[in-house]
Symmetry: C2
Subunit: 228 residues, 2 copies
């Protein structure tokens, strides 16, 4: 706990954590809104209720992240503001045109984002780490989506190749918006790459992180029955 307080006296560290929590918070809030909107596409009442449940979980995460921002003396709106444009652009460019596209988007997007945030937690204080990891436990949520997508593909294989294409588009958009954020936000990039004062993964570390994330993504695609 004391060590944690120590790190927050470093303005660069503090700014990086606020960026981390801010992007995560707006990510959850915008995922909540998109997912709830997608619930309208649900083919059955049970599916609608299930997706509403996923969305409600995203809101609960958002609420915890917001509380943490307040706790460390940051303004949640100000912390989220720098990431609104990139996240909104991502969602704007990847509006699902069907129920299945919505599910695949949730699974792919949630998976990549979770992997990324999990990697970052290696460089933050224990309090921040626990909070971030707590918002990432996606197992229960994922199994519902997995089941739905696999069943749909097994009934109609052509759907599988269309959804694989859709997933590639999602990854492309996520990467291009992610690069935009990294270029704009020095404090965030510094947390990742490290500087004299802050331990980070370095450039080589970043490259290997991306290869790990890609590997995980390929694995998730295979789980759904889709080629990456």
């Amino acid at each position: 706990m004391e060590q944690q307080e120590d790190r927050f006296t470093d303005p660069a560290y503090r700014a990086a954590v606020i960026d981390l929590l801010g992007t995560l918070a707006y990510g959850e809030l915008s995922a909540f809104i998109r997912l709830s909107t997608d619930a309208d596409l649900a083919p059955t009442l049970a599916a609608k209720a299930a997706v509403a449940g996923l969305a409600a979980t995203e809101y609960a995460h958002f609420d915890r992240l917001r509380a943490r921002l307040v706790e460390i003396g940051a303004d949640p709106e100000q912390a989220m503001a720098p990431f609104v444009e990139a996240l909104d652009a991502f969602h704007e460019r990847t509006k699902p045109s069907s129920w299945l596209e919505g599910l695949v988007k949730f699974y792919v997007g949630d998976g990549i984002a979770s992997d990324f945030y999990r990697e970052i937690t290696a460089y933050v204080d224990p309090g921040t780490r626990d909070l971030v990891l707590g918002t990432l436990e996606a197992d229960k949520r994922a199994s519902y989506v997995l089941h739905e997508v696999r069943q749909a593909i097994s009934e109609d294989p052509i759907k599988g190749s269309r959804l694989a294409l859709w997933a590639r588009r999602l990854v492309g958009e996520a990467l291009s918006q992610g690069q935009r954020v990294a270029a704009d936000r020095d404090s965030f990039s510094t947390l990742l790459s490290g500087t004299g004062e802050l331990p980070g993964m370095g450039l080589a570390g970043i490259v290997s992180m991306f290869s790990r994330i890609t590997e995980q993504h390929t694995k998730r695609m295979a789980e759904m029955g889709l080629s990456a």
Copy 2:
């Protein structure tokens, strides 16, 4: 508790309670989805977060109602199904075209629905009553909406007369969809009006209930600074 079990052995009573919980559950689920969708219209991040919070509360209510349906041996999807068409039609015909319209819709719709369900609880067993009343405590949610609408009207009075017109349309649509449900669902109407076996409010009681609800609605409109 024993008395409660007794009442459930009466098939007419049981059917009426399932109807009550089913309509309430789908009401919360569809309100959740509509409200989350409206969050997209929010002018600020703080407003977006606030509306997402209102929506998440609706989901929590839905979840409790669904659990209760399962508890009394009913299928939640089957219980909700008869009310999907009317509630979807209501939302379809009353899509807010602005952030303020969305807030007024929430305040007016939530208010009328709450008053109606509260009236019904006089005729149900204590377990059902507590659950229904628990989903209706709207004070905390309402105060945010009230504040926003009043402020917007004080800044631009023309907005006030437009929103008053909008609220009248909402009430008209709510009444016409409500009548449709009442005409379709005998068990529900019977709970309200009563029969030989079931105590109800009778026709005169229904008329006076509507006048009480109208009165409350007029009061809420005045609170927002709108003429009913």
